[in-house]
Symmetry: C2
Subunit: 344 residues, 2 copies
């Protein structure tokens, strides 16, 4: 068996999917999960089994991949790229395709797009990634052909920078206010929100029609630290072999580096460390952190009792800081039952 | 043409190779370049055309790839992994293979390795990644079978944390002292050094027999900031299209995110930005930095005169902070002449 390998706890993953689908149903929301996290047609099927029919992706490549896997209602939640107009038009011949209007400079190009393509006007809630200020978005909605504008789309990326659940709910409250303003003016248009933390923590979704969370399919250390999930919800780990141990400085070297985990970190922590067993991995070991990554090396800082449990060749389960970026670095998932799940 | 794409300036790359090969020759050093940076058999050929016969890699997967491409003298500069002993033995049937002894705990396992495998004892100069303290390494060299120990191997990873050239040369001076101590005791053994910054900047290599730099094949923003190279030596860029512009906050959004550039950053800068032309890209634009990355989005902070030169669909050349990690995220290189160069 080859290490490092990307290991998926299928049961946890399916439970996460079920829980989020059922929350969306309960709240009366269209559920359009973001598939950029898993990028797998097979995992997509687990969503379909729960009644999901519409999805979100972040590139034309992903849209084409999932269209080929039978998904026919796709929003590309990324600013419409003028260089890809012919690809959008081609794709829209076969599926319902929605694209984002994230800047007014794109307006002169819209005439080149197929009539079949729908628009979401992207709103910026102050996260300052992409999107329009609310007042400008409302003006745009008034002048664009009404039959083409599906609605307003917001990704509250600032929830990822929140310090705790209270801050996330405060950002969500702001989303609700933006939604109210948009729905007052355009009651028939869809208001769509995106991030996993606010969908996970919030209970009120007044004026919101659609949710597009993605990360929840696996969760990760970042989501757990934000309060979006518990340790036991994290469905993805990288299994890495121990290749050296330095007792004096209480450090372990694993084969598992930046090309396996990504350089995403939280205050210098590049991953938490758990012990794998037959039925999955346990909670993260206390006082044990991946503190540094080279291309292939990972350095774990730990304590004496952990070192005593480990030897050269021991396999450690590294819980990723940001599962989207970690999953992207591998070409397949391995389930706990040793089945391969393919991905893009 | 698909963007983002990884673009290689072949001429710059070949010049970097020629310059480093010729420096090694001039200093009387065995040149064993690290191929983890490019991971390409075709780029490997450019080294071979300059007389290079021995190489370094950081995983068994890379060793197998380059062995298949005809390289028959390979050091895997990564702690020997007990789980891969059968793969090492198989590979050693066909090529000269050197492995690292980075911890004393590996000693009981050495008897399982083929007699054909050579050892380098890895030294830790205080970088505290992997390797043994000097005195322990010398003791080990005395008890291991002399015909199997090829020499001592050091990777001065702390040069990457240096603030300037002076600090790098100070670390190099320490390498020279370690080399002297090893060669006094084992004059017939090879003393091998690794990092690009010290090889690039140093002029004296007394007691050093072999150099294994890798990054120099492309260089990057980090190396330029360390003083290892000039802007014009950087041979790799990611070409990314502009998908949105926000004049008020002087920001540009590109399709080019963490899955294209990696999350490596220097003080919050994830890449420098240049304008591509027919014969390559120019110097980085002033006051213009990639300041934030999502999975697919890159945010560039810039100034008014730069914004005026750019429109939706413009292509920007992003110079990577760490070219090894950026190259790893792509499956091929595109040359300026629009040829594809394959990679692992």
């Amino acid at each position: 068996m080859e290490f490092p390998k990307l290991v998926l706890d299928k049961q946890k993953c399916k439970t996460n999917i079920k829980r989020f689908v059922s929350k969306a149903k309960k709240k009366g929301l269209i559920f359009r999960p973001h598939f950029k996290t898993h990028q797998s047609a097979q995992i997509g099927e687990w969503f379909r089994q729960n009644g999901v029919n519409s999805i979100t992706v972040s590139s034309i490549a992903m849209a084409e991949y999932f269209a080929a896997a039978g998904w026919n209602d796709i929003t590309i939640a990324f600013p419409l790229n003028v260089l890809q107009i012919s690809q959008y038009n081609k794709l829209a011949e076969n599926i319902n395709l929605n694209l984002l209007i994230s800047t007014t400079q794109i307006l002169p190009k819209l005439s080149q797009l197929s009539d079949k393509i729908g628009y979401f006007i992207e709103l910026d809630n102050g996260s300052n990634r992409s999107g329009l200020e609310i007042d400008l978005a409302l003006k745009l909605a008034a002048i664009l052909p009404s039959d083409r504008v599906r609605g307003f789309l917001l990704h509250a990326g600032n929830t990822y920078k929140a310090k705790n659940s209270t801050e996330i709910l405060k950002i969500h409250q702001q989303q609700l206010e933006i939604a109210q303003k948009c729905k007052q003016n355009f009651p028939e248009k869809i208001f769509s929100i995106g991030d996993t933390p606010s969908f996970s923590l919030a209970e009120t979704f007044s004026n919101i029609d659609e949710a597009r969370p993605g990360n929840f399919v696996f969760f990760d250390v970042m989501q757990r630290n934000l309060g979006s999930c518990q340790w036991e919800d994290i469905a993805l780990a990288v299994y890495c072999p121990v290749v050296a141990m330095y007792d004096k400085r209480q450090e372990i070297v694993i084969h598992g580096g930046a090309v396996h985990l990504s350089k995403e970190n939280e205050k210098g922590c590049f991953g938490r460390v758990a012990i794998p067993g037959k039925t999955g991995w346990g909670e993260p070991l206390p006082d044990t952190y991946v503190t540094s990554l080279s291309q292939e090396h990972g350095i774990i800082k730990t304590r004496g009792d952990v070192l005593e449990m480990i030897e050269l060749g021991s396999i450690l389960a590294i819980l990723p800081i940001h599962s989207c970026l970690t999953a992207n670095l591998f070409t397949e998932y391995n389930t706990l039952e040793n089945n391969i799940i393919e991905k893009l």
